[in-house]
Structures are given as structure tokens and as C-alpha cells.
């Protein structure tokens, strides 16, 4: 592909800066959780750094391809991701009772992370083709619904409730954005309500238990009830200024569960207090607002939709994860973007940021 000097001039440095700042906080935070562990394995924070570097590499690749080419091949890319999902369902290996990993020469990879991004791409393609001027009816949404349904069911089957929920939320966020008739929203809502008992039937016992526990924490003081109580003690005891780096007792004494994944924010808030938590949330807020700006000023509709989708994905990740660890949402296992440990998640997030920068830097370029 030909090099365009203008692209370099228009590179979105502030966006990359915000992301790297959040990543830095993430690595530091994983370092503190691993501090008292004495395992022979490579420390987790080093692995996270490796993943970030790998992610930056993928970001560069995504950057160098015009997003419109990606949109053109969106369905194929989505199809490939779904094939990987199917493959993982039958041949992937199992951790924590859920089959979602694909081993790739030493690395393990979760196709369910990738499918979030390809879902956004495919929906962007569909709605870019069909425009956003007139409001959609339910009948018009059958194709997008199908685009969602296949990966959604596969992920639910793994079972990975968190990611499945995320896919559903992304889908709903997309169609609400492109516009749907009020009457149809009501019909869809009604149908959704009817689906609840069906979905309940599909949920695993522990997933049902988690949801019930949210409404009544006393139900399960040993499981997620215990987790949420310990998480709130950790965050609350951080106070205004925090207990200091490596000094969080809830973290260091392992009262806090799932420290590197679901409850990373609690670790951070315990050691850095309200001040730290506030700064981190503001960093996320600026990332989200910046992403929306990119969406709003994209040169073409598909760029707008992709940028919107990626940004809303990050927004929901932040809101649901922090919401659950501070006790205002049920514990559904959605990681905090850039902070939770997880190779696939980091790499896909970096690719998403690459797409945002891609769209951002191409908005000035005139192309035939």
C-alpha cells in the first residue's frame, strides 16, 4: 500500500497517549496483585507487558489498512471469527469449567474476544449499506439479528455469560444508535421479556446463582456474595488517598478474589483511594468522549458506525465492570478494558484502538 505522509501528520497521538496511560496503570496494578505470590512462573505483569506489545503490533497492522477495506470484507472476517468460535467449542481447552481457549503455539487465544470487534464491523457494514436516514423496523433488522445470534449462542454455550451479554449490549447499542421505530422498540422489548424464561433455562446453575445473589447477597455468603463484600471493603477502606502502592491489605492478604481479572478496579481503588479511582475514571471518560468525536467527524458512515461501536464497547466495559465491583450491578464477569489481565482481550482492544486511529487519521484524506 502506498505511504501517505499526510496520514502520519494526522496520527492521533492524544488517543494513543490516553490508552498508554491506562495500560501503564493496568500493568502497575497487576504488579501489586502478584507481589506476594511466590510462583516459578513468569510474573503476570510481565506477561501483560508482552501482550500490550503484541497488541501494539496488531494495532499497527490494523492502522495500515484503510478501514473501508476492512468494512468491505467485514462479513468474511466475521465468518472467520465465528469459525474459530465453532472450532473452540469442539476442540478448545477448558479452564474454569468453560471452553473458550484456542492454543496457538504457546499462546492461547479466545475467539470470543475477537468476535466483539467483528460484530461491530459487520453491523457497521450492514447499516452503512442501508443508511440511517429512515428508522428501522423489526423486519429490517433480521439480518443484523442473525449476525448477532450465531456468535451469541456459541459464546453462551461455552459458557461465557459476560461476553455473551456484551455482544447483546453491543447489538442493542448499535440499533438504538442507527434508529429504530418507537413502536418496534416496544415490540422488541416485549419479545425480550418473553425470552427471559427461555434464557433462564439456558443458564448454568452458577450463573443463575450469581444473578439471584445480586438481588439478595445473603443467599450465597461464600460465593459471589463473599466476593462483593470483600470488594466493597477493599474499595471503601482505600479512603480518600488510598493505602499506597503495594500496601492494600485486602489485596496483599488475598481477601479479594479474582484480583487480576474481574476485581482489578478494587485493587486499584484500595491502594490509590478516591483520588486514584477518580483519575482513572476520568481517563476512561476522555477516551470515550474522544472516541465519540472520532465517530462524529468520520469521513464516511461506516467509519462513524465502527468508531461508535468500539467506543460504546469500551464504555460498557468500564461502566459494568466498575459498577459491579462497587456493588451497583450484578457480578457478571465483564473485564475492565485495558486493566484486567487477559491476552486476547488486550490484543483485541489494541486492534480496536488501531481502528479508531485509522478512522481518525483518514478523515482529512481525499481518496478516489
Amino acid at each position: 500500500m502506498k505511504f501517505d505522509r499526510q496520514l502520519l501528520i494526522n496520527f492521533d497521538w492524544p488517543l494513543l497517549g490516553i490508552v498508554m496511560a491506562i495500560c501503564f496503570i493496568g500493568v502497575m496494578n497487576i504488579y501489586t496483585t502478584g507481589f506476594s505470590l511466590t510462583t516459578a512462573k513468569a510474573p503476570l505483569y510481565l506477561k501483560q507487558i508482552q501482550w500490550i506489545i503484541l497488541g501494539l503490533l496488531f494495532m499497527l497492522i490494523v492502522l495500515s489498512i484503510d478501514h473501508r477495506i476492512l468494512v468491505q470484507y467485514a462479513y468474511i472476517i466475521h465468518g472467520v471469527a465465528i469459525l474459530m468460535l465453532i472450532f473452540v467449542t469442539f476442540y478448545g481447552y477448558t479452564t474454569h469449567g468453560s471452553q473458550r481457549w484456542l492454543a496457538l503455539g504457546g499462546f492461547s487465544f479466545q475467539p470470543s474476544e475477537l468476535v466483539k470487534l467483528t460484530l461491530i464491523l459487520s453491523l457497521a457494514r450492514y447499516f452503512a449499506d442501508h443508511g440511517t436516514q429512515s428508522r428501522y423496523s423489526i423486519k429490517d433488522l433480521l439480518t443484523p439479528f442473525f449476525i448477532l445470534l450465531v456468535p451469541f449462542l456459541l459464546v453462551l454455550r461455552q459458557p461465557d455469560l459476560g461476553t455473551a451479554l456484551m455482544l447483546l449490549i453491543l447489538f442493542l447499542s448499535m440499533i438504538l444508535f442507527v434508529g429504530i421505530r418507537i413502536k418496534d422498540i416496544l415490540i422488541a422489548g416485549f419479545l425480550g421479556l418473553l425470552m427471559i424464561p427461555l434464557a433462564w433455562y439456558f443458564l448454568k446453575e452458577y450463573q443463575k446463582e450469581r444473578i439471584l445473589t445480586f438481588f439478595d447477597p445473603e443467599r450465597d455468603p461464600l460465593g459471589s456474595g463473599y466476593h462483593i463484600i470483600q470488594s466493597m471493603i477493599a474499595i471503601g477502606s482505600g479512603g480518600f488517598l488510598g493505602k499506597g502502592f503495594l500496601k492494600g491489605t485486602q489485596t496483599q492478604l488475598k481477601f479479594l478474589p479474582e484480583q487480576q481479572t474481574d476485581f482489578v478496579f478494587s485493587v486499584f481503588a484500595e491502594e490509590w483511594g478516591f483520588v486514584g479511582g477518580f483519575v482513572l475514571i476520568i481517563l476512561f471518560l476522555s477516551l470515550i468522549l474522544w472516541g465519540f468525536k472520532i465517530a462524529q467527524y468520520s469521513r464516511d458512515l461506516s467509519g462513524t458506525l465502527i468508531a461508535y461501536g468500539i467506543t460504546i464497547m469500551i464504555f460498557w466495559g468500564v461502566f459494568i465492570n466498575i459498577g459491579m465491583v462497587i456493588g451497583i450491578l450484578p457480578v457478571v464477569g465483564i473485564p475492565l478494558p485495558f486493566l484486567s489481565y487477559g491476552g486476547s482481550s488486550i490484543v483485541v482492544l489494541m486492534m480496536s484502538i488501531g481502528l479508531l486511529i485509522n478512522i481518525s487519521m483518514r478523515r482529512f484524506v481525499l481518496q478516489p
Binding site: 466493597m232 477493599a234 471503601g236 477502606s237 481477601f255 468522549l289 469521513r299
Partner: protein, 631 residues
């Protein structure tokens, strides 16, 4: 910020402006909720939570489940659980583990006791995470520690269940043993259920059925004080005991078989030919699975793992032996089925068989004279079978050997089974890179040469003859039951295949086997019971070729390690067989002299048990015996 975003050549975003405005508001509200909640927790309620975190001594503690029972076919419990006491240190702060161990050792020394801990405990403790200092302590130590609790703050005694193997050495190769999960096993498991210190099946049924036997850990939320003692239990999820397993093994018969072998190196497999159920399975030398309960000591482990006689190996499924003359039944079946001989076909045995310029001897140096199939089996004439082997060829022979279940895993419910070896032309070309020689077919046809069989395969092959041609999967597990008796899984008998041999041909071989035991000149006369109901075949398998030189021969024979393996395989009663037995005694000499008496004891025990169990009640049976004795 806005100025930076021009609208140079962008598409028309005017219709989006409103949507984005709404979006901004939604996002801002959501983020504001997070910040307000965070401020509420950290600033407004901060002091309260700080206090709670400082007093946080609420711990989740795992409760190990009871492993399932293992019962024999008559529902006698052969593996249960018993209470054991572990010495545990519960730290309330970070401290060097080595220091605690030194303290405990000092403490013990005053009483002349010593700390029995082979695992290397190093590093630092984590507050309230218990460190197991010593497993399965003696009563003396228990009493001492309990009465001096105040001198050793943080050291407590915990009750933990351990396995009780009442069968000891005699059952260990069937049952296996349990131990603490190893690092490698932990990585393989990779789920929440399994953690360091958990118990897992390491061999035998304990390993094979671990997922059923293990049960599910429970947990309790407890508040601990500064010395690590539990002050208050806050929540409790009971552990779920593992499922119970019912085996096909008859523990009384197992005991009889163990005693019949009388400590000699070897193996015995007893099977029900009607459905493939294993009634007894012995491998000696053996080991005591109870040794592993307290975490086996290094000395014991070295003794077991470095023993040149391999007591940890289950010879019945992993031992591969040349089948010797027991293999002749396969050769006979092949020749009959292929129509190469009739029962009346005769060959002349003058004591040796010539092929080219080589000569193969019969075990009877003076020869058997003219022999037909029946005499050949009864007197185990080698020359007769050399002739059959030459007519059949090694590949045809292999075909029938496989039909009898040789050369493949029998599928028994025990780990580490070996397939044995059925030689073919293709096998030799691929493994030895040499073409097959006709001269090599000759020893194969009397079970020497390259052939290797496992004792389980041998018992199964004779079961097949006993029941008229059905090859069953050797079955050792009958069913799995929940604690309340509900049947969780049944392991039904599985018929693998039917011999491609007509039933009248099988009957001819059966008659020959009956003759081996009950006719004059038969090699298995040790089995001649008053009921005349046993049919079987002796075998003697050469371990290595002996030197020609007579003096060297003698020296080697005397050293014992080069003595032949004694084999005997049989079934009884001849008319309607109920058991098939295979016995191998290593380096013991002739099958008829050494292995047959062992088989005899097992068969006697089987029928004795059968009649004593059939008797309505024990006292009456006893009275009858007494009366007879008195008369």
C-alpha cells in the same frame, strides 16, 4: 478540542449531531453515577470500611469431601475412610516457615519426639493460610500437642479423613492408592475444584474412577482470632461425598488367590467367562497402599520405586510374558478353522522337528510317537504344533491370535495396560527392518519367540474357550452409586467379538484341555479334582536361550533369574464354566509343577466359597460337618 476536528471533507454528520449530544449526556450521567458511588464508599463510608478491613479475619476455608467407598461384588467395603490428625500452623502474619518448623522441632525434642516431614516447606506464610507441618500424626504426638497448646501459639491439630485400605497389599494392584495432587496433575485439571493439598487417585481404580470417587469440596466462612483458631463459623456449604463404587472383585477369592501365590513373584487373574467379570486379580510382589496416606516417606518411596522386582507394577495388566504352550490352543483353533487338520490328522513326533538345516526339539526328548490333536494337547507335544505353525504361516496365526484378544488392549478398567505383541511379517519388517524367516514361525507356534501376552489377555482367551467363543471386555467395575444408593452409572458386560471358529472345533479343543488335567499323561494333573471338572493348559515360557555348554547351563539355571516362567490357564467346571483362571509364576520352572498347584488352590477356594455361601446359615452347615466328622 472541537476546533481540532474540522469538517473538511467528511460526510454529512448533521443528522448525527443530535444523537451524539444525547449520547454525551448518557455517558456523563453514567460516569457521574460511578464517581458518586465511589465517593460514597471511599470518602463518606471510608472510615467504616477501613475499620472492617483492619478487623478482617473472615476467611473462606475449604472442607475436603469424603472419598467414595469401594465395595466388592458382595458389597463388602474394601476401601473406606478413617480419621487422621494433621499438625497445622495457622499464621496471623507473614513469617518464615522455617522458623516455625524449628520451634516445633525444639518442642518435640523435649519429649523425645521428632517432626516427620519430608516435604520441603520453605518461604513465607500468608496470614491465615494454614501450613500443614505434619500429616497423620501419632496418638502420642496428638496428646502432647493438645495438652501443650499454649506453648505453641498458632499450631493446631486438624482432623482430616484418609483412606483405609483394609485389603492392604493383597488389593493394592486393583484398588491403587491416593495421594496429594502433584503440580503436573494440577495443571492438567485446571479448574476451580482442585487445589494444592487435595487428594487424588494415583493408580488402579482410585485413579481410573477418580472423578466419581472424589466428591465435591465444601467451604465455610469462618472468623479466626490472632492465634488462627476459629472463633465463629459464619457460613457453611457442606462438602458432597464421592460416589461409591461396586467392583466385580470377590474379596474372599482375592484373598485366597493371594494366599495361593504365597508371596512368589507372579500374577493370577480370575474371571467369570459368562460375562468377563474379573473376580480376583493379584500381582506380587505388592505394596501397602496405606503407606501413601500420610504422604509417603522418602525412605519408603525409594524402597518401592527402586526395588528391582517392581512391586508398584501391576503385572496382571502391564506384565508381558511369552505365553509358552498355553498358546497352543490358538494354533489348534486356527488350524481347525482353516480346515488344515481334522481331529484325526496325525503327525509323528520323534523328539525333534527338522526345517532346512535347523532342528527344533520337542520338550519330550524321546518323542511322543504318532499324535492326533487330542494327544498333542494333552501331552503338549511341540512337534505337532510346529507342523501346524508351518502350515498356517505366521500371518494366519496372528489373525487368530488377535481374534482371541492378544496383541490389543483388553479394555480392562485399570490404568497402564499393555497390549502384548502378536508378531507378523509386516511387524518384523517395520520394527526390525528384516524380512520374516520361516524358522521364526516355528517357535511362535508353541508360544515362544516374539509373542508376548498379558495375564489378563491369557485369562480372557481361556474364558473365550470356556464359554464357547465369546470374547468379553474384562470388567472390574460393576456400578457406581450415590451415597443414598441411587445408581449413577452401570458398567454392563460388553461382548467384544465372537471367535471365527465353529463351535464343534472349540469343543474339540475344550476336550483336549479337559484331558490335560484329567487323562493319564496329561501335564496338568495337579488340577485333577475328585469332581474331574477342570480343563486347562500348562505353559513354560523360556526367558532367555540357555547356553549349549552344559556347565554354563547349570550355572545360569542355578542363578534363578534365567529360570523359565511357569504358566497355567484353565476354566471350571468343564460343562458349564463359571471361572477362568490364568496363573503366571515368574522364574519358577515348569507350568505343571509350579503354576498348576496355585490354580488348583484358587479353584478349590472358589467352589468352597460357593458352597459355603449357598448354605442357608453358617451354624447349620457347621453342624453337618461336625456330625460327619464325629461318625
Amino acid at each position: 478540542m472541537m476546533g481540532m476536528f474540522g469538517r473538511l471533507n467528511g460526510h454529512d454528520t448533521a443528522d448525527f449531531r443530535k444523537r451524539f449530544q444525547r449520547l454525551f449526556i448518557i455517558v456523563l450521567i453514567a460516569i457521574a453515577i460511578l464517581i458518586i458511588r465511589l465517593a460514597y464508599l471511599q470518602v463518606f463510608k471510608g472510615d467504616e470500611y477501613k475499620l472492617r478491613s483492619e478487623n478482617n479475619s473472615v476467611r473462606l476455608r475449604k472442607i475436603a469431601p469424603l472419598r467414595g467407598l469401594i465395595m466388592d461384588t458382595h458389597r463388602q467395603v474394601i476401601v473406606g475412610n478413617q480419621a487422621a490428625f494433621d499438625l497445622v500452623y495457622v499464621p496471623n502474619r507473614v513469617i518464615e516457615i522455617q522458623r516455625i518448623i524449628e520451634q516445633v522441632e525444639d518442642f518435640y525434642e523435649k519429649r523425645g519426639l521428632s517432626l516427620n516431614n519430608d516435604s520441603k516447606l520453605t518461604g513465607k506464610t500468608r496470614p491465615f493460610v494454614p501450613v500443614r507441618l505434619e500429616k497423620n500424626i501419632t496418638m502420642a504426638k496428638l496428646a502432647f500437642v493438645e495438652t501443650h497448646a499454649l506453648d505453641l501459639p498458632g499450631v493446631i491439630v486438624e482432623v482430616a479423613p484418609v483412606r483405609k485400605y483394609s485389603g492392604g497389599e493383597m488389593m493394592s494392584h486393583v484398588i491403587g492408592y491416593t495421594g496429594e495432587v502433584s503440580k503436573e496433575e494440577l495443571e492438567k485439571h485446571d479448574d476451580d475444584e482442585m487445589g494444592p493439598g487435595d487428594v487424588i487417585g494415583k493408580s488402579g481404580i482410585e485413579k481410573f474412577l477418580d472423578e466419581y470417587l472424589a466428591g465435591k469440596s465444601g467451604a465455610e466462612q469462618v472468623e479466626v482470632n490472632v492465634t488462627g483458631k476459629v472463633v465463629k463459623a459464619l457460613g457453611h456449604v457442606a462438602p458432597v461425598p464421592g460416589y461409591n463404587v461396586v467392583l466385580t472383585i470377590d474379596s474372599e477369592l482375592q484373598k485366597a488367590a493371594w494366599e495361593a501365590l504365597a508371596g512368589r513373584r507372579g500374577t493370577a487373574v480370575v474371571m467369570d467367562p459368562r460375562d468377563g467379570s474379573i473376580l480376583a486379580l493379584i500381582s506380587t510382589p505388592s505394596f501397602d497402599p496405606n503407606l501413601f496416606n500420610s504422604g509417603i516417606s522418602k525412605r519408603d518411596w525409594d524402597r518401592l520405586s527402586k526395588d528391582p522386582l517392581y512391586p508398584m507394577e501391576n503385572r496382571a495388566v502391564s506384565g508381558q510374558y511369552p505365553p509358552g504352550s498355553t498358546y497352543k490352543v490358538v494354533v489348534a483353533a486356527a488350524a481347525l478353522a482353516e480346515g488344515l487338520i481334522t481331529p484325526d490328522t496325525r503327525f509323528f513326533c520323534n523328539g525333534s522337528f527338522e526345517l532346512g538345516n535347523r532342528s527344533f526339539r520337542c520338550w519330550q526328548r524321546h518323542g511322543h510317537g504318532w499324535v492326533n490333536l487330542h494327544r498333542a494337547l494333552v501331552e503338549s507335544c511341540d512337534v505337532y504344533f510346529y507342523n501346524l505353525g508351518k502350515m498356517l504361516g505366521v500371518d494366519k496365526l496372528a489373525e487368530y491370535a488377535r481374534a482371541f484378544g492378544f496383541g490389543e488392549l483388553s479394555g480392562i478398567d485399570l490404568p497402564r495396560e499393555k497390549p502384548g505383541l502378536v508378531p507378523t511379517k509386516a511387524w518384523k519388517l517395520s520394527r526390525r527392518k528384516e524380512p520374516w524367516q520361516l524358522g521364526e514361525t516355528i517357535p511362535v507356534s508353541i508360544g515362544q519367540g516374539f509373542n508376548l501376552v498379558t495375564p489378563v489377555q491369557l485369562a480372557n482367551a481361556f474364558s473365550t474357550l470356556a464359554n464357547g467363543g465369546a470374547l468379553w471386555r474384562p470388567r472390574i467395575v460393576k456400578q457406581i452409586e450415590a451415597v443414598d444408593g441411587r445408581v449413577v452409572k452401570v458398567f454392563p458386560p460388553e461382548k467384544k467379538r465372537v471367535l471365527p471358529v465353529r463351535s464343534e472345533h472349540i469343543e474339540m479343543i475344550r476336550q483336549g484341555l479337559w484331558g490335560v488335567v484329567n487323562e493319564k499323561g496329561g501335564t496338568g494333573s495337579a488340577l485333577r479334582r475328585p469332581e474331574a471338572d477342570v480343563a486347562g493348559k500348562t505353559g513354560t515360557s523360556q526367558v532367555v536361550g540357555l547356553p549349549k555348554n552344559e556347565a554354563d547351563r547349570r550355572a545360569k539355571i542355578l542363578s534363578g533369574r534365567f529360570r523359565d516362567h511357569a504358566l497355567f490357564a484353565c476354566f471350571a467346571p468343564y460343562k458349564h464354566p463359571e471361572i477362568a483362571v490364568a496363573v503366571i509364576v515368574e522364574h519358577a520352572g515348569g507350568g505343571g509343577a509350579v503354576a498348576a498347584p496355585v490354580a488348583r488352590k484358587i479353584i478349590d477356594a472358589y467352589f468352597h466359597l460357593k458352597t459355603s455361601r449357598a448354605a442357608p446359615t453358617a451354624p447349620i452347615a457347621q453342624n453337618v460337618v461336625n456330625k460327619q466328622a464325629g461318625q
